[in-house]
Symmetry: C2
Amino acid sequence: MTKKTTIYDIAKKLNITAATVSRALNNNPRISKNTRELVLATAAKMNYKQNRLALALKSGKSKNVGVVVPYINRNFFSSVIRGIEDELYPKGYHVIISQTHEDQGRELKILQNLLNAQVDGILLSTSYTSQEKEKLDTVLKKSTPFIFFDRKPDIPDISSVTIDDYQGGYDATKHLIDQGCTKIAHLHVSNGLELYKNRLQGYKNAILDSGLEFKPEYVIPLKSDIEAGMEAAKALMKLPEPPDAIFSSTDNGLLGAVKYLQDLSIKIPEDFCVVGFSNEPFTQFMNPSISSVDQSPVEMGRMAAKVFLEQMDNDQSIKIHKKVVLPIKLVVRKSSSRKS
Amino acid sequence: MTKKTTIYDIAKKLNITAATVSRALNNNPRISKNTRELVLATAAKMNYKQNRLALALKSGKSKNVGVVVPYINRNFFSSVIRGIEDELYPKGYHVIISQTHEDQGRELKILQNLLNAQVDGILLSTSYTSQEKEKLDTVLKKSTPFIFFDRKPDIPDISSVTIDDYQGGYDATKHLIDQGCTKIAHLHVSNGLELYKNRLQGYKNAILDSGLEFKPEYVIPLKSDIEAGMEAAKALMKLPEPPDAIFSSTDNGLLGAVKYLQDLSIKIPEDFCVVGFSNEPFTQFMNPSISSVDQSPVEMGRMAAKVFLEQMDNDQSIKIHKKVVLPIKLVVRKSSSRKS
DNA sequence: TTGTACGCGTTATCAC
DNA sequence: GTGATAACGCGTACAA
């Protein structure tokens, strides 16, 4: 209601100077016990609250970090943010979130905006349209710590936290082979993101390592949505030699494929095995429940936050960076369980 | 890398004063076209960026809003945030998010923290442990705009955006009755939140309006998790006269109940109908797909943001408030479809 | 049209 | 141990 009380107000009331009040509030040793207690008491009485903005301007540290994701309300990203906030809040940081809507233009504006707001760091998962690294470069040239998570461009000296997508693709495919599948297709999200390429590579190597033949026609490029998955399954089943399993880089795509297969009365896992990627919550509620590669999003968020904190602790004049690759975990469910 | 350039830097370079630079940058009319262009050009050349912190301190407006929810990575809340950010970002606001972890103590600290950070407003969905209104009162006494969404305490002069929970309970129950169900149970989340009480009331009135008998033993209090739902279903089926339908205030609870019923080989919807609340994404992937009351979380977020913006436009000395109740929409799926 | 001076709230560096 | 003063970067009333 009333004007906010400042240290100046309480200084006037006590007939001392604002500097003294500041010292008392900040436990400065060079101050008499007497005045400290007096200040603390009247501060409480006047309901004084520190203005973080003024402090930020003075210190150059806003105690805010920007987190930039394509969309907040995707389970994966909201869970990463969950981890980030859990880790950063206890350290006194506030988390500012922005959504790129998968648009590089918007992404660049957002980054510039956050920088203008003097955030102490930016944690970013790029939009897949963000292909022009040079543009990103101009903003990366700042001294503000930058950490990529999950989706990252191929830039050498910037910190990043990702999962082992290659291993995820490898493990999922190997698992299908172990279940007796020999003709394994792959739904490949072809938006240019490195992580999907890595999953594809893992798939390919698992096939080759097992002595199976890698068939390019078994790799279907698609967007990460349900309809695309249906179309992909349709195309696959029309092949002269249809596959007997699918490893999909995205749970959403797989969902569409499964619907299509079930419409054809193909039994999963008896006739056909499937494994997805991301371990979206819905995979466990489907019938049959769907195996998927878990990305531990919350841990990824925590880790990204930790890397940021490390970077802050260091002398800012030294530019350090750190690449963290988190392990994945294949969650086996009914959709790929032929043997107990 | 290098020091950030300020208006002083560019003033020095041009042998003019910072005030002039400021005016040029802000399209102040009282300035010569010549110097304006000169300033703009060198500002661009020196890569000048406005420091929002300084502006905030000066103007008293941080252009930040705080959004406080129990957990960010719940589909409902992340979707609300999605709506808020979509609406506020184009207006130049940044969204700061914090999680209460359903803990009132933490909630109060967060609110105080946000106020210290000089946010221009706070959008809040209270934790269910937040029962002591008096404590909340001290922070509501500030001039900072406050908007509750979804979960709100019963405080008269604060803005809020909620859905019509009563109608949701009513419609869901009425729908079950229309499908031929006569013994309808209700899973009631008993954490004290008003919204659950409203859903219960809707349920009760729909029963009474249809000439059915309201049986207290059909109302099972529970927590909003899967295990609790299983327990509830177990208890219900052990009654002398078990129900033939469930309306649940929470999709999660219903999920557990459905699992239990299916273990008993009870056929849904033939033998038993169910309707949930929240329209969680997984409801459409279950087998059978689950009917549920949709809360349009994204729209709720947008609306909460709009109410905030309205409040900002108004003269701050006038305290206004606005209560918005959004309509619900019953999404009918297989779990309650006996008739086409 | 431009310059001067000040204030936003805080802390740090001098003095005393 | 405390006071006075400057500084963080910006916008603006008042002068000129």
